[in-house]
């Protein structure tokens, strides 16, 4: 009788180990590769034998990589701020104000989030050209909203719906304007959900490649994913693996750190929705 739990526990731990390996190994391999130079790059090692930061140094010397990082941060932060602001207000009306066509509107928003990026690429390109935002970071922010907004609106609407109606009514009796209801009552209560969706929006914007490639032209307007893809070696035949790996590690670290910081919040945010309704 006592053996069955041990066997299943063992199986469970093996499964966990496999998943962790599968998830972490590519990143680990990137880290150790980024620390190698020269021909060592093409040897398969599973342990870091050398500690050479050469790749990291040249990364910043050969291209405006610092500038690229700054671009990425700017774009991602702006996307998060704008999406959260717009979606909090949209969620309030979608969840609390009864109006004709509300269901249709919600359905449309959800549909938009399912369009493949390529499908909207050319249309978006025209739009951005027309607005004069080509090769401009604001153009990227604008383009990214198309996939962050549906998601943040949807999630915040779901969360806001679950807040008791009486809270809002109590505030109405207290003589509070809709704006204050959103900012003073709903937002503080939706904080965990905001952090979660904000973080996911940040990651989406941070990693986005296709729009960033299409809508920027010059090195100094590029974001990190594009910059990495365009890192080139001394000649056509040389692929600077070391630099690419160093760059990958640099752009992954902030995301990992953010997730670790907000881990508690994210879990709270994800489960808070699951508990009720």
């Amino acid at each position: 009788m006592s053996r069955a739990p041990t066997v299943s526990a063992l199986g469970f731990h093996l499964a966990v180990l496999a998943i962790v390996l599968y998830a972490v190994f590519p990143f680990y391999y990137a880290v150790i590769t980024s620390l190698k130079t020269g021909s060592a790059l093409f040897r398969v090692d599973y342990f870091p034998f050398s500690w050479d930061l050469h790749n990291y140094v040249t990364l910043f010397q050969q291209q405006p990589f610092g500038r690229n990082i700054l671009n990425s941060v700017t774009v991602a932060v702006l996307v998060v701020v704008v999406s959260l602001l717009l979606s909090a207000l949209a969620a309030y009306s979608l969840s609390r104000v009864a109006f004709r066509g509300r269901g249709l509107l919600l359905g449309t928003i959800l549909t938009v989030s399912m369009f493949p990026q390529v499908a909207v690429l050319s249309g978006m390109f025209e739009l951005i050209r027309a607005l004069g935002l080509y090769n401009n970071l604001l153009g990227l922010v604008f383009a990214y909203l198309i996939f962050t907004l549906p998601f943040t609106v949807w999630v915040l609407t779901t969360f806001m719906r679950e807040l008791p109606k009486e809270l809002e009514e109590a505030a109405i009796l207290d003589g509070v304007s809709p704006w204050t209801i959103v900012t003073r009552i709903f937002l503080p209560l939706l904080w965990p959900a905001m952090v979660t969706t904000g973080l996911l929006a940040f990651i989406q914007a941070w990693n986005e490649f296709l729009f960033a490639l299409t809508f920027t032209l010059t090195d100094d307007q590029r974001t990190v994913p594009v910059a990495i893809a365009l890192i080139s070696g001394g000649s056509r035949y040389e692929l600077p693996w070391g630099n690419i790996m160093a760059a990958s590690v640099l752009v992954t670290v902030p995301v990992v750190v953010l997730v670790l910081i907000f881990q508690r919040r994210i879990i709270a945010g994800l489960t808070a929705g699951a508990l009720k309704g």
């Binding site: 008791p164 009486e166 109590a170 505030a171 009796l173 207290d174 003589g175």
Partner: protein
């Protein structure tokens, strides 16, 4: 303190008509209870007065002025919700001050008002706590405090005590009554609880399916219900109803039960035709148990319930399905399965027409002693008179 009046108020939600043609006048300073079965529109009516819902048709006046188009905050009302609806992320102090801050009162004035209210409700020590750090009863007080602090002219309560346990409910009930005396404010109070309505109210409004069935003082509703619904709804245990046929419609009215026995009721039934189907109602405390040989009506005891200061006996009359409830003083309990005689004093009988309307009950003076005594045996010995209750008496 302000009077509230509703004039032909209707409210429909899609196809559901929640409130129908309600007319209501609540005087300034009055304590008015709205009662009725679940779904009868009590909350909806309260929310209409609060302005959380718009009336479909009709007019609501507070303090004599129409408020149909005024937003809730400008109606001079405060509402206590069943779920309390305290802001979870604010301390007790902030909860109470939130509404005042919107009205641009000075910081100092707000603090004074909140503290004064907190003292009144004895929650001064809780001001810095969050709602989740309070017990149910404390949350209740804070919810009431949040209403009081705004100095409203009318208080609205939607089943404020239903989340409390029995002891706390009674205690809070007494406090609300004291608060009413002290603040002299108009209060409109929705409740399921008979006792709350009977003890707190100056005026009770009984609603059914969105309609007002009767308005009156608690004892008026208790003794002179306008119809069978109100009679059955007010009072616990429920009033007993016996189906019968009208045999004589001059006072005292004479009824025949399906089993053939004759009952008298001291009511004015002259509006009803002889031979019409009627219902006789009598409250459990007026059902008297007597020796079987002294009564025309006999019943077997099915069940007894001991409640300490009194007991209830459930009796089967003949072979009818419905049991008759009798409320008895302690010491007078018959044994189960015992055969007992039943006396229904005519002065305590209510009579309802087939459509439920009540016949006006006469006062003692206008029915003749002789008319009654011809049917009711003159000598009625109470069960407990004999010392030892009769067991298995012959029929």
């Amino acid at each position: 303190m302000a009077a509230v009046s509703l004039h032909r108020v209707n409210k429909t939600f899609g196809t559901v008509q929640a409130v129908r043609d309600v007319d209501m006048d609540i005087a300034a300073g009055e304590f008015c209870c709205l009662v009725g079965p679940s779904g009868c529109g009590k909350s909806t009516l309260l929310r209409l007065i609060a302005g959380l819902e718009d009336v479909s048709t009709g007019e609501i006046r507070i303090g004599g002025k129409p408020v149909n188009h005024r937003p809730p905050a400008q109606r001079g009302i405060a509402m206590v919700f069943q779920s309390y609806a305290l802001y979870p992320h604010m301390t007790v102090y902030q909860n109470m001050a939130f509404g005042l801050q919107q009205s641009r009162a000075s910081r100092q004035a707000i603090r004074e008002r909140v503290e004064e209210t907190a003292r009144l409700l004895q929650i001064e020590t809780l001001l810095e706590r969050l709602p989740k750090q309070l017990s149910g009863g404390q949350r209740q007080r804070v919810a009431i405090g949040r209403a009081i602090v705004r100095h409203p002219r009318v208080f609205l309560f939607d089943e404020p005590l239903s989340n409390l346990d029995a002891g706390l409910r009674q205690q809070t009930r007494v406090e609300i009554a004291r608060l009413h005396t002290r603040l002299q404010a108009t209060m409109i109070y929705v409740t399921h609880d008979q006792i709350e309505a009977m003890t707190l109210a100056d005026k009770i409004v009984v609603l059914r399916e969105g309609r007002v069935e009767q308005v009156g003082a608690p004892l008026q509703l208790y003794h002179h219900p306008a119809n069978q619904f109100v009679a059955g709804f007010i009072g616990s245990p429920r009033m007993n109803f016996l189906p019968a046929r009208l045999q004589r419609n001059t006072a005292p009215a004479e009824l025949v039960l399906p089993s053939g026995e004759i009952l008298l009721a001291a009511v004015n039934a002259s509006a009803l035709p002889i031979g019409s189907a009627v219902t006789c109602g009598i409250r459990s405390e007026h059902v008297e148990l007597v020796r079987p040989e002294d009564a025309y009506l006999r019943a077997t005891v099915v069940l007894r319930e001991q409640l300490g200061d009194h007991s209830l006996a459930f009796l089967r009359l003949g072979d009818s399905e419905e049991l008759l409830t009798a409320k008895l003083a302690p010491g007078a309990e018959p044994a189960p399965e015992q055969l007992v005689g039943i006396a229904l004093p005519p002065t305590h009988c209510h009579l309802f027409a087939a459509d439920g309307r009540a016949c006006p009950r006469s006062t003692e003076a206008n029915w003749t002693e002789t008319g009654v005594s011809s049917v009711v045996p003159r000598v009625r010995r109470k069960l407990d008179d004999s010392g030892s209750p009769i067991k298995n008496a012959p029929t």
